[in-house]
Symmetry: C2
DNA sequence: TTACTTTCTTAAACTAGATTAAGATTTGCT
DNA sequence: AGCAAATCTTAATCTAGTTTAAGAAAGTAA
């Protein structure tokens, strides 16, 4: 498979427009292909000008460390998804880390602006727009955390992301749902029992 | 003051571009000016094709009702801010309601798309972009809810939005922070006592 | 000004989830 | 295959926040 597909797929979905070969080449050249082992930190709190990542293969998490040293997972991203800190190029409070061995394409903010400008692909506010879908996703997440119990949140996560439940360690899922690993274990035991 | 300033201000901030008089007129015509008394519901769960609102004067909240009938406040918006459900034109799960008497300019999704297309003002991903700032805001909110205690969250809200603490009833702030009004009252009493 | 509604305060009893501790199971490396 | 590290499970105890109830204070309308 051609290595540029993850990036071109991203842009095609973003714009709804089919890029011509020249544009595809331009976009492809702008990104940097990287391979990383699992548990590799791609950026850390305190870094500035952090990059945006498109995932061709693997699994990545965006997290931060609270005042007590506990890790809070904000986002997981898998193949054909993007991840990074949208506050870039300002200094980030987050860590970006691979959960599995991953192959990604990354770009700096200025490079991304250049690509968008060069291709005259300013985004619309269309509901299928990537940024807008990201907004809706994280708003739904906030709504769930505020309005549902830990058990409800786990069952919802499991239903929406059955593949991620298989691929991500339970303690990382607990840190994503805002509950302790011990309590998640209890919830899983309870809901598995009921299913039998 | 000219009544179109809230809308033109919005577009100028969104695009970083000064609109000419013809463009200003076009944008102005696309929006609908509305005045609403406090506690007016602008849209309800189940409505489709809900509108986007720019606030010239007043205070508005976006909320939903959880499975137990409790209201969860997701967003507050005041003068020169926008509010609505970005999942429009799909059916909404949210309610939009005025907290104070308000003067707003509203537009449908299709009208907004038309304005953006007509003015060739597709948005960039620039960090100052409105949608991107909204994303960062709500991500920060999620981070706070997941990583801080109720007391920390209240003190942070008070520090960042001292004006809103004055204008918004405590029970609505409690519903925004994900805690009960009684517990917020307790937190306020405790932190006020320490300050003396 | 008065009366009613809304908002806020207080506290006792309760609970969802955290913490702590210990051990079991699974995974990965040599 | 064996051992160490990582992950998961279980349960007792604790706690941040909820619920319930009652009354006080503030706001609003007549």
């Amino acid at each position: 498979m051609d290595t540029k597909n993850a990036v071109i797929n991203f842009f095609t979905r973003q714009t709804g427009v089919e890029l011509n070969l020249e544009q595809e080449e331009f976009v492809h050249q702008a990104y940097r292909k990287e391979s990383h082992k699992k548990k590799t930190i791609l950026f850390s709190a305190g870094d500035a000008n952090t990059r945006h990542y498109i995932i061709e293969k693997g699994l990545i998490r965006l997290y931060l460390i609270d005042s007590k040293g506990k890790e809070i997972n904000i986002l997981f991203a898998k193949e054909n998804q993007v991840i990074g800190d949208l506050a870039t190029p300002l200094t980030t409070n987050f860590y970006l880390e691979t959960i599995e061995d991953s192959v990604v394409y990354s770009i700096e903010e200025s490079g991304l602006q250049k690509v968008m400008t060069e291709l005259k692909l300013g985004q619309s506010l269309h509901p299928n727009n990537g940024l807008r879908r990201s907004y809706i996703h994280i708003q739904k997440r906030l709504v769930s955390i505020l309005s549902k119990s830990a058990e409800e949140n786990y069952l919802e996560f499991k239903e929406i992301h059955p593949d991620l439940v298989q691929r991500i360690p339970q303690y990382l899922i607990a840190g994503y749902l805002g509950i302790s690993p011990e309590f998640l274990s209890k919830v899983i035991a309870k809901t598995t029992k009921l299913k039998s």
